[in-house]
Amino acid sequence: MTSITMTTLDPRTRAAARGWSDLSIRNLFIIPTIAFLIVFNIFPLIYSLGYSFTDFAANQPAGSWSFVGLQNYRDLLSDEHIWSNFIITAKYVIVSVAGQMLVGFGLALLLNRSFPMKGLITTLLLLPMMMSAAVVGLFWQLLYSPSWGPINYIFGLGDFAWLSDPNSALYAVAITDIWMWSPFVMLLSLAGLSAVPQHLYEAAAIDRAGSWYTFTRITLPLVAPLLLIALIFRTMEAFKTFDIAYTMTTQPTAELVAIRLYKQAFQQWDTGKSCALAYIVLIMVLAITNLYVKYLNKVKER
């Protein structure tokens, strides 16, 4: 065989002639992952869909349950308590995500210039989002403490009980969440800002455009796709929030849907009804996920 015939041969068919075929390699590489996810994510969800039509309680002997049809779903949708959990969650999502978008984008605007130790400072600012929400949330109890917390001392709030006052508990958790996740919005915004072509700003300067005009007509539209991704992702995560709120406060006014679900399933052992509630939450999350992936792909294509 000469070298010329070698290079003209399609490498795929040549490789297929030796060793494993591409098709079997592809299957070997992909099928275990898909199978794993089906067995440990999809199958359990089908299992719990079944239970959502029963009055099963996991602390009762096996077999002592009966089929109740749509009763669980009907009960949940007419339960004012659940509705209040959803309203609390909505408030929490709005406050914490809005806060993160403002603080995060603001930080990115400040950081979007050159100064000494920029890399170090940016990384330091990103630390909160990498840490365990449950453990850090726990420690914020000390920061918020009415008797010896540094926050009340710094702001001169006396003995204001952030986490045990029913009116403020939810917002105190949201503030901690803003502290944790603003860096995420900052990171995405910085990527967007650094991708704005410099010549656009130069052209605007030549045209003597005001800084507000430059900001709203050049900066914002170009960063918008990344801000949108940050917004959808954070909305979804905030909607699912469990750990940070659970370790910080026990106030009923801060009982998010995920906490309610946990209590119903693992403290009251109302398993059937919890499965139904889990499904309601699941459908909402999947709807946001769909939106998220759509925009993620859109940005990827640019």
């Binding site: 060793g19 239970y51 210039r113 600012l125 909160p128 990498m130 370790t247």
Partner: protein, 318 residues
Amino acid sequence: MAAVRTSREIALNRLAIVAVLIATLIFLGPIYWIASTAFKPKELAITVPPTVFFEPEITPFIRLFTKRVQMQKEVDPEVYAAAPWWEKRIYDGGERVLKVGDKVQLSQYPDRFMNSLIVAIVSTVLAVSMGTLTAYGFSRFKIAGEADLLFFILSTRMLPPVVVAIPMFLMYRLVGLTDSHIGLIILYVAFNLSFSVWLMKGFMDEIPKEYEEAALVDGYTRMQAFFKIVLPEAATGIAATAVFCFITAWNEYAFALIMTNRRAQTAPPFIPSQIGSGLPDWTTIAAGTFLFLLPVAIFTFLLRKHLLRGVTFGAIRK
């Protein structure tokens, strides 16, 4: 920048840098408070006004690692004199270290920390190996319904942990996997797998196909080309993915809270459970938190170039 900068712009620039420094101090405040409380004498953790300057000591860490009881009466001076320096610190706090014979009883913290390590490392190795293979498959071969499959994979990551935990708890109870390392590892692999596939696919897409094709022409099989050409090229990506998966597993709370309570319990549900009733000993809690957060802080610095990729599942690379 070519444009001439006016003195107003220079002043604004300086102002922005000052604002950045202030923001950095605010964001690091809570982390600093954890770190400093971990080295405070017990009584200085809860003072009004809060204590900022103090002589650091490592007694909280000694308390963290030992089982102790409150002393009923003063310690015998001879016993005190014979005790090693660290035990004296415990006596000074009005407590004594529990012993069986001469052996010091360790607290539960080292066990929980070890559980966290085992579960995070094993689940990371599994999720990253499976994810790397799958990502290569998606990156190089034609797959029917590729976009839908990738969406399916990502959607598993978005499932709220408590939603998945209810049926998994029931199933684990049937097969005896509750409070086991394996049970938690399976959950973390399932949770990290989708992330690992998406992130690795981004890295794989960046390795030119021509590398393997050249190898195939040279007589490598596809497998050899994958292991000898592609994997070394993807090493950085694999390392970054592994660190992300490790951090996620290390930090995870909800699954660990629901599935484990003693034998396999990891640090995140354990640390809050230390609070108990009465006045919490914040220095010991801070010491535990500090040690637990330290690896993540180090990893964040190692990962800094890949953070953007990581948080967007590999979609945005810069």
